[in-house]
């Protein structure tokens, strides 16, 4: 008989201290609902966060929450997932955390294609430290928190994810919870590394790209007939076409901003690669294997016998 969890089971006792109107509330809502709809046992769910406003998310959910270091959420989560592949692992972090200080780990994660979901809170600023420019803020943009226009260019998170090797690439919007929930669940179920760039208005510091600004601009790729799926046996020419479509949509910005799934394909996950040379993995995993003092050392010592 399956244990039935209730929506409220996933909500922690702590009171979110985000600013009123923050897009983070929408993301939190979508994550909580998704955990419920996926019927995940909170005892087995681990939510890893970086540092920033986004970093507080897991304190508001009643599952294992690991609030890590700025820019380092991916390696923390990777270690946990590899050591115990049976855990449900969800990673959340901000844009500065993920593509500023964390950019190296972002790329490395893509190279591995570990089976986990990364929810990226994209608001173009470093909120908690009072609104400095984040890697997703365009050159010349000047939200009210900046004394002068931004002197650095912006990265494109979707293209970065693609270049690094993420196998599920999506964009959501904090105020379209229905769509965001669906993306979170699809991303969670995707066997491989899933990335969701969530447009998350920051009402306190970002007066350029607000709820009112995004509202009329966002549109659904699925409703537009876009197909993100890359079948395994796709020929080179067709693949090339698909890549072109992807780039076209990933770089679309301004009057029209697409949301939904942009790219989805299957590739051996990191767990599968590790299993190929680690006997018993993942059924026998570092977290749960039985430890015997000495282990197989006696056998290994034979190599050093004279």
């Amino acid at each position: 008989m399956a244990i039935k969890f209730q929506l409220k089971d996933y909500k922690a006792d702590t009171h979110p201290d985000w600013c009123p109107g923050c897009g983070d509330f929408g993301i939190l809502n979508a994550i909580q609902s998704s955990l419920f709809e996926l019927e995940l046992d909170p005892n087995n769910v681990t939510i890893f966060s970086g540092i920033g406003c986004s970093g507080k998310s897991n304190h508001y959910l009643e599952t294992y929450g690991i609030h890590t270091l700025h820019g380092r959420v991916l390696p923390f989560a990777t270690g946990a997932k590899l050591a115990n592949p049976h855990l449900a692992v969800i990673v959340v972090g901000g844009d500065g955390d993920g593509l500023g200080i964390g950019a190296g780990h972002f790329v490395a994660a893509g190279r591995r294609n570990l089976d986990l979901l990364y929810v990226f809170y994209d608001n173009e600023v470093y909120g908690l430290t009072k609104g400095q420019a984040a890697p997703t803020l365009a050159l010349g943009d000047r939200p009210k928190s900046l004394p002068r226009p931004n002197v650095q260019g912006k990265v494109n998170p979707l293209l970065e994810a693609f270049a690094a090797g993420f196998t599920f690439i999506a964009r959501g919007y904090a105020y379209n919870i229905k769509e965001l929930k669906a993306l979170i669940q699809e991303g969670y179920n995707h066997p491989g590394l899933a990335f969701i760039d969530v447009l998350q208005p920051c009402p306190t510091y970002n007066n350029l790209h607000t709820k009112e600004w995004f509202g009329p601009r966002v549109y659904s790729l699925a409703e537009d007939g876009y197909d993100p799926l890359i079948p395994a046996d796709l020929g080179e020419e067709a693949l090339s076409q698909k890549v072109g479509d992807f780039v076209g949509k990933a770089t679309e910005w301004g009057e029209k901003i697409p949301t939904g799934i942009f790219w989805r394909h299957l590739s051996p996950t990191f767990e599968e690669r590790v299993a190929a040379y680690t006997p018993g993995y993942p059924e026998v995993a570092p977290a749960t294997r039985e430890l015997v003092p000495g282990g197989k050392v006696a056998e290994l010592m034979e190599e050093f016998a004279l």
């Binding site: 855990l87 780990h105 197989k296 050392v297 056998e299």
Partner: protein, 622 residues
């Protein structure tokens, strides 16, 4: 005779390591105790490296300044090692080197060239002049044509010189052993074990036989087998540490390649099928430490291995582990610093950094291995302490030990334990109620809750936190949490027995008025000196932090001499900080070369004599 040191020098990539291995194993099979050490450049091919293989009829834990027999694989070896061979010893070299001018000899440093030119009083000296200098020191210079010997052996097998000369290292080892009148059988046995390919074996055998077909080795020293290998093993510090981690139940290791730490991780990776550990090469050291911590949170025994520059990057991660009471072992292979420093040379310059790595105060343990065998037991112990006291343990291993190899009787693993500390059991009801991971306690230790434990939901954060792990800035809770964490170090001192924290060799024949204090790799040389001088006691500190309060009592009212491989005397500073006792003499070495038995003896004699200096710097080694 009961002691002999053989040294082989040559360009990296030319088989110097292989030759030393063959010589060491051949002697070891004849019952000799072996201690070998390796010096090499941060370079793949071409620059100078050399190995000493020291033999003794007793277990040997140190090395000597001067060697009995030097074999030069290249011209550069000869000028570099002038003064390193004992009078009465010999040097074997290819006669083709004699015509080479020093200015053209390999990668010989300008400083060495200049020094030699001054010493020889020649403007443009050559290898021939250097050889004459050896002879002036009463050393036999023996030209030996290794290549021609290989050619002759190869010819008899129908092999071309290019192929035959692949056995030139074997020729050098064989020539050395022949010179010492050591029976060839043992070398042939070692070759059969090391080279599985039939053709290679046949060639090597032929070369050995060709060497031994000559009569009358022109050398007065002899080496004979004194027994058998008797079940002994031969391994390096890095291998010993890796095996110790496996013995201690290591489940997860991360690493980023860095000299001289990489060997340990590569060994673990290569043997992952036997060890059961998952080994991951990360994108940088920050990922290495944070990934290891992530794994540790799930209940896996987790570690990483690095050296100074990588360790610098790990400081923030280590702080998170300390704040979150997470077990993790960081093995730091100490090399010359600061910055990129001397990537392949030994030093003990990271003690103070290890003590303070990571801003703020948080509990961590620091231990240092004294020799190759200690690496094994210390590595296993570190994993236990990390879990029992729920903190990062920094395990310091000097490069000198990592790259030294020794014969040992098989390690006695009967006392090995796996102690997991306090762990919250799974709740069969799978309650969704959060659990107080950081609940206060007298010992400071609260049960660990691996991620995914039913009934154990909690939070972990680098922020100050309440018992459930939620962020807090409350001044009252803050103090309670801080004191709880730090209390664990007091608990550790109460529970860890003295003999696991330090070892003391008192010398009853002296008035025990002088105590020499050391840590890490100095132990072998100092104990050898103690055997001869017999006028000091020796304190080797294994657990550097938390610091044993008993040490103050040992040092009070004594003449205190601290010996270590760093510029300031980092252990001496620690002792002063913790006990108020300032060392009378600091014996220091920071030229990247280890302290030999002879060097320790001379320095300690000076430090224990009349008018000892406050600071005595050692310069031995090439």
């Amino acid at each position: 005779m009961n002691k002999l040191t053989w040294r082989v020098g040559g360009a990296q990539g030319s088989g110097v390591d292989t030759a030393a291995n063959l010589f060491a194993r051949t002697a070891a099979k004849g019952g000799w105790w072996v201690f070998s050490r390796r010096e090499y450049y941060s370079n793949i091919m071409g620059r100078h490296s050399y190995l000493d293989v020291a033999l003794d009829d007793q277990p040997l834990n140190t090395f000597y300044d001067q060697v009995d027999l030097l074999v030069a694989f290249d011209d550069e070896t000869l000028p570099r090692h002038l003064g390193q061979v004992k009078p009465g010893g010999a040097v074997l070299y290819d006669p083709r080197f004699e015509k080479i001018k020093l200015a053209k000899a390999g990668f010989l440093d300008r400083r060495i060239q200049a020094d030699l030119a001054a010493r020889l009083e020649l403007e443009d000296p050559g290898i021939g002049d250097v050889l004459a200098a050896y002879r002036e020191e009463k050393i036999l210079t023996l030209p030996y044509d290794f290549e021609t010997v290989c050619d002759r052996a190869g010819e008899k097998l129908g092999l071309e010189p290019a192929k035959a000369r692949r056995a030139v290292n074997t020729a050098a080892v064989a020539a050395s052993l022949w010179l010492l009148r050591y029976p060839s059988e043992a070398l042939l046995e070692v070759l059969a074990e090391r080279f599985r390919n039939r053709d290679v074996q046949v060639l090597n055998q032929a070369v050995v036989n060709e060497v031994y077909s000559q009569d009358s080795p022109p050398f007065s020293q002899e080496l004979a087998p004194i027994g058998s290998s008797d079940g002994r093993i031969y391994l390096s510090g890095a291998q010993s540490a890796a095996l110790g981690k496996i013995a201690g139940g290591l489940g997860f290791q991360t690493y980023y390649p860095i000299s001289p730490a990489t060997d340990e991780s590569v060994f673990l990776e290569a043997h992952a099928d036997k060890s059961g550990s998952v080994v991951i090469q990360t994108e940088d050291e920050i990922a290495a430490i944070t990934m290891a911590i992530g794994a540790a949170l799930t209940g896996a025994r987790s570690a990483t291995a690095t050296s100074g520059p990588g360790f610098s990057l790990m400081a923030e991660g280590i702080g998170w582990a300390g704040m979150n009471e997470t077990p993790v072992v960081v093995t730091v292979y100490q090399r010359g610093g600061p910055s990129t420093g001397l990537p392949t040379r030994t030093e003990q310059g990271d003690l103070q950094f290890a003590l303070h790595a990571g801003h703020g105060d948080f509990p961590k343990m620091v231990l240092a291995s004294a020799d190759v065998e200690a690496c094994f037991f210390d590595a296993a112990q570190a994993l236990n302490w990390a879990e029992e006291y729920q903190l990062p343990v920094i395990h310091l291993i000097d490069k000198y030990i990592a790259n030294s190899s020794r014969t040992y009787l098989p390690f006695d693993q009967s006392g090995l334990e796996i102690r997991r500390g306090e762990v919250r059991p799974a709740d069969p009801e799978r309650s969704l109620a959060p659990a107080p991971r950081f609940v206060n306690s007298e010992s400071g230790i609260s049960p660990r809750i691996p991620l995914g434990t039913p009934g154990g939901i909690h939070w972990l954060t680098g922020n100050e936190h309440d018992a459930y792990g939620h962020v807090t800035e409350d001044p009252v809770v803050r103090v309670e949490r801080y004191e709880k964490r730090m209390r664990k170090l007091d608990t550790a001192l109460e529970r860890i027995p003295i003999y696991e924290r330090y070892n003391y060799w008192s010398d009853p024949s002296s008035a025990a008025a002088a105590v020499v204090v050391g840590w890490g790799s100095v132990k072998g040389a100092v104990l050898a000196a103690q055997e001869e001088l017999k006028n000091f006691s020796y304190l080797q500190i294994r657990l550097l932090w938390p610091f044993s309060p008993e040490i103050e009592g040992i040092l009070t009212d004594k003449r205190v001499i601290v010996i270590e491989h760093n510029y300031r005397g980092q252990l001496a500073d620690l002792i002063a900080q913790e006990t108020g006792i300032r060392a009378h003499t600091r014996i220091l070495k920071y030229n990247g070369r280890p302290i030999s038995a002879g060097e320790a003896k001379t320095a300690l004699s000076q430090a224990l004599g009349k008018e000892p200096p406050a600071r005595l710097v050692l310069y031995g080694g090439v």
